[in-house]
């Protein structure tokens, strides 16, 4: 289908501000009378605050006030995991205990030194398996796990059970969570190649470039909060609740966000933003809270680490007949996420496993706040599985590409325990496109070729994420001057989907983009509830809402024209600037005239009547405040059918030096299968950025803690080893299948998450290939692991350990 905007590049309105430094992040704002808050954080990985004596600090010149957990939670802290605004029961080193405000940061910092903090030190855990052992330390007060609707609990295995798991055996303890489909026993019985192993994947921090600094002030009863998030409206109600102010009196300002990657998507992951708001309320001054890199490490989140056991069986033709997976998930110090479940679901989707069982037990450690991070679960497990796919192919005498095509998801396929169908799926096409672009046929012969100490390795990786939320709202307005204002609450994280999804509205109304404005950046610009820019959801979800709102407006425009000019609504069409009779195009009205007439008519045309009943409270408030201001299109998006997937494929060639354990990526091609392409440059950026993240997952990124004291050892960029220019290839080849999805009005689906998974999988497969098929069953595979393997010596760290000094 030929589109006017969809599939075309454009310059999103915030890009000039990013290259000139004009666009403002939360720390760039200032306010007259502003004071500065500093955080006093926990010096221990697990403890209980016994006493805080701040009298000397509060007596200092320039010190304005203090905020403690008792101020925030006068009825006691919530007895659940998850980040709190402030706490007297820290489960992380660096967890904020109190904030103190002063006329400048130096004074606040000096005041902090005058505070006497008495804290009871409690046992701490760095590895879930250490906590699982009977008598092992628990990360939380009340246990080492949290059971939904039941509270904290203690999950313990016998030392023999833990030891058996560490040594590679199937865990025998009952899992907290499980699902199963198909006949697992029959699947393994029918398999000609069965592989069984334990595995581990590291969790590691998000390390967004922008620390989550925030500034807040109160004016005329309203709370204004300048913060950083992956959404404007999806977090607004939650943040207002945390601050303790009605939604209608809360303004969230967030023009740009310096990275999120899953950890700023919900109000519950950024409660720290409430500190300046509540301090400001208490001391009646604007408050700036600057967050340091070290503080960002602690409260900024981390991917869940997985320790697991898998058994996988393949039939003689290469079909994955059975998969049995048992995970112990590292939930960190503040609750966790659903990585293990997503990993299992990803395996089912990507490899179309005929029979599958999934089991998981989640255990807390005093290591960072775990939660969603780009492709949570799927991206870790694909890195583990890709080399095993190659092992199966080699054992069964199959080509590595062919075994993947055989198991690839296609239209009509289903996945997961509920056999949910895909909305569409073209994985074989993606594999073929990637193979052609990479020239797999030629390059495959270079596998394991040596040149001195260097050896070539080739890898194929696949990525998947189920992306597509519904139930959000769309809101657009046509001004009397004929300009279209598209209100979008998605958040500005750098994917530019706030703008590219808005173009679906312009598409419906056939309008030049120059005549459209995207209204975003702060909630008092009256924004609808939109999907956060998370989980690869925004492209699928917000094109639906923008398209729907534009359809609503289009209907109203034709109604107005038909009422004024005669004829039926069906007799009218549009051309981007006029509504006209198809039989006589001279009979018509300009968009400006229609908008003006709509204002005169009021009622449903201006948001004052006949609104969708299901509108979210956030949208309803926005519509109420905009009612009567312009011709309005309003839409509530009903639930969509089936599972809209994002798929990726990566082909990679590396040269690995067996003497150093280092490698160079010689070629990398990554292909997206995400329906119709909405914004080619944006998609290419997501593929390239995902590639960098995938390289980090499989080769570099770490989460290191001192086992003696529980001190984080990778709180900075250098120690956590996020990839740099020099760790990534000079060019990253991209491509896309570009076939429309039927559940989206412009055929689009999301891609941000799986763009990483395919690369992490391909890299691990390529490393394994270069080492004659050796399986590390881990991610990352670091240089020291490679060197140790080449030298024929065992690893110098416990294979399954999490958060250790590996690498």
């Amino acid at each position: 289908m030929a589109y006017m905007h969809i599939g075309k590049d454009f310059v999103p309105q915030d890009v000039p501000g990013k290259v000139t430094g004009r666009i403002k992040y939360s720390e760039d704002y200032a306010r007259d009378g502003m004071v500065y808050a500093r955080l006093l954080t926990s010096p221990v990985p697990h403890g209980r605050v016994v006493d805080i004596d701040a009298s000397e600090a509060l007596a200092m010149d320039g010190v304005i006030g203090i905020l403690t957990a008792d101020d925030v939670y006068p009825d006691g802290e919530p007895q659940s995991p998850g980040l709190k605004v402030l706490t007297n029961e820290p489960t992380l080193i660096g967890e904020p205990i109190l904030a103190i405000a002063a006329v400048d940061e130096k004074t606040a910092e000096d005041a902090m030194m005058k505070i006497s903090l008495t804290i009871e030190r409690l046992p701490f855990a760095l590895d879930p398996l250490d906590s699982l052992v009977e008598g092992g330390p628990d990360a939380y007060n009340g246990g080492n796990t949290f059971v939904f609707r039941q509270g904290f609990a203690s999950e313990k295995w016998s030392s023999d059970q833990v030891a058996a798991f560490r040594s590679g055996s199937e865990p025998t303890a009952e899992a907290q969570q499980s699902w199963e489909y198909g006949d697992l026993a029959a699947g393994f019985a029918a398999s000609d190649f069965v592989y069984e192993t334990n595995f581990s994947t590291a969790g590691y921090p998000h390390m967004s470039m922008e620390p989550r600094s925030a500034m807040s002030y109160w004016e005329n009863g309203k709370c204004y909060l300048h913060g950083t998030s992956q959404s404007l409206t999806a977090v607004a109600e939650g943040l207002a609740g945390i601050v303790g102010v009605p939604l209608e009196d809360f303004v969230f300002v967030n023009e740009a966000t310096g990275g999120g990657f899953g950890q700023r998507a919900r109000a519950g992951s950024i409660p720290i933003l409430a500190v300046p708001a509540k301090l400001s309320q208490k001391i009646n001054r604007p408050v700036m809270m600057r967050v340091t890199r070290e503080e960002e490490f602690t409260i900024g989140g981390a991917r869940q680490g997985l320790q697991g056991w898998i058994k996988v069986g393949f039939k003689a033709d290469g079909a994955m007949a059975a998969m049995d997976m048992y995970c112990v998930s590292d939930n960190g110090g503040k609750g966790g996420g659903g990585d293990a479940n997503s990993a299992a679901g990803g395996v089912s989707a990507l490899y179309q496993t005929e029979a599958m069982r999934f089991r998981n037990t989640s255990i807390g450690t005093n290591t960072g706040h775990r939660g969603a991070q780009r492709g949570p679960g799927e991206n870790q497990i694909m890195a583990v599985l890709a080399p095993i796919m190659d092992k199966a192919a080699e054992d069964l005498g199959l080509d590595r590409l062919e075994i993947r095509k055989l198991n690839a998801a296609q239209n009509g396929d289903v996945s997961g325990p509920r056999s949910q169908p895909f909305t569409s799926a073209y994985m074989p096409e993606a594999l073929e496109m990637g193979a052609a672009q990479f020239d797999w046929e030629t390059k495959r012969s270079r596998s394991r070729q040596t040149d001195g100490s260097k050896v070539r390795g080739l890898g194929i990786g696949q990525g998947y994420h189920n992306a597509g939320r519904s139930g959000m709202d769309g809101l657009i307005r046509m001004l009397p001057n004929g300009r279209l204002q598209i209100h979008n609450g998605v958040g500005n994280l750098g994917t530019y989907s706030y703008a590219s999804t808005s173009r679906a509205a312009a598409e419906v109304l056939k309008m030049d983009w120059a005549n459209c404005d995207v209204i975003t950046g702060r909630t008092d610009r009256h924004l609808p509830i939109s999907s956060p820019q998370d989980g690869s959801n925004s492209i699928f979800t917000n094109t639906r809402t923008c398209y729907g709102a534009a359809q609503d407006m289009l209907g109203k425009m034709k109604e107005i024209a038909a009422a004024d000019l005669g004829g039926d609504v069906a007799d009218y069409d549009i051309d981007g600037s006029r509504v006209f009779q198809m039989a006589d195009t001279s009979v018509g009205m300009t968009y400006a005239e229609v908008a003006t007439r709509g204002l005169e008519l009021g009622g449903k045309y201006t948001g004052e009547a006949e609104l969708p009943e299901e509108l979210n409270v956030v949208t309803a408030l926005a519509v109420e405040r905009l009612a009567g201001s312009a011709l309005m299109g309003v839409y509530h998006d009903p639930r969509h059918n089936n599972n809209p997937p994002g798929f990726t494929v990566t082909f990679m060639e590396i040269e690995l030096d067996k003497e150093t354990g280092k490698f160079d990526i010689l070629d990398l091609v990554t292909i997206a299968e995400c329906g119709t392409v909405v914004h080619p440059q944006g998609l290419a950026n997501q593929l390239r950025g995902g590639a960098v993240w995938g390289i980090g997952l499989s080769a570099y990124e770490r989460h290191l803690y001192d086992p003696q004291n529980g001190l984080p050892a990778s709180s900075g960029y250098w120690q956590s080893k996020i990839p740099t220019y020099l760790d990534t290839p000079e060019n990253i080849g991209t491509g896309w299948v570009d076939l429309p999805d039927p559940e989206n009005p412009v055929g689009a689906r999301g891609i941000g998450e799986p763009s990483m998974g395919a690369v992490s999988a391909a890299l691990n497969a390529a490393i394994s290939d270069a080492l004659d098929g050796h399986l590390f069953n881990a991610a990352p595979v670091t240089a020291d692991m490679i060197i140790n393997h080449v030298a024929g010596i065992s690893e110098n760290s416990v294979p399954l350990a999490q958060n250790n000094f590996r690498g």
Binding site: P211, R293, G494, N685, V692, P723, Y725, E730
Partner: protein
């Protein structure tokens, strides 16, 4: 490769110019909020973006703090404040430098350029900025001002770099979004149009 723009030289330049490798515990001391110490002059004149500015600077104050919090030039970002990320990169006498690791007193007699100083008075973007727009180089944009300044510094010393030279020259700047390839596209385009 032009030796002027290697990562080694970049880092050495930072160290030679008076590095103040900050940690969180001394960040705030570096913000210029302390009282005068000894005989160090506080009111100094620094040349920023072609204008001589008189500013009250504490002895231990970093250039990033002066630019952001005294002169209102918030385009210079603080990603780590410890010389790891490059988000605060500015040019000091044409050399890309981490402003978080340079003492303001050390640049009294030098020319400082920030991202705000690149755009012409009539709003025309610098070729690097224009190329970054056309290539959609930024993602979240937080590292972008630093990437821009490193690219400008690179192209002044080596107007026609190879892609590998550009990669080496930009290697002091981290992008967590992973937009390296797109930034390199921007650098190469800027070299073409510059």
């Amino acid at each position: 490769m032009n030796p002027k723009t290697t990562r080694r030289r970049f880092i050495k330049g930072v160290i030679a110019s008076g590095a103040a490798a900050t940690t969180s515990t001394i960040w705030f001391a570096a913000n210029g909020q302390d009282k005068p110490a000894g005989a160090v002059e506080r009111m100094i004149r620094i040349n920023v973006n072609g204008q001589v500015r008189t500013v009250d600077v504490a002895p231990q104050e970093t250039l990033a703090s002066t630019l952001r919090y005294k002169l209102g030039l918030t385009g210079t970002k603080l990603g780590c404040n410890r010389g790891e990320c490059g988000a605060c990169t500015v040019l000091v006498d044409d050399v890309p430098s981490y402003a978080c690791s340079v003492l303001t007193h050390s640049v009294k007699n030098q020319v400082v350029e920030t991202v705000e100083g690149l755009e012409s008075a009539n709003g025309t973007l610098h070729p690097v900025q224009q190329a970054f727009v056309e290539e959609l180089s930024p993602q979240c944009g937080y590292c972008t001002p630093g990437q821009v300044m490193s690219a400008v510094g690179l192209l002044r010393s080596n107007p026609n770099p190879t892609r590998e030279e550009a990669r080496q020259g930009m290697a002091g700047n981290i992008c967590r979004c992973g937009s390296y390839d797109s930034y390199l596209n921007g650098v190469m385009r800027a070299a073409d149009i510059g």
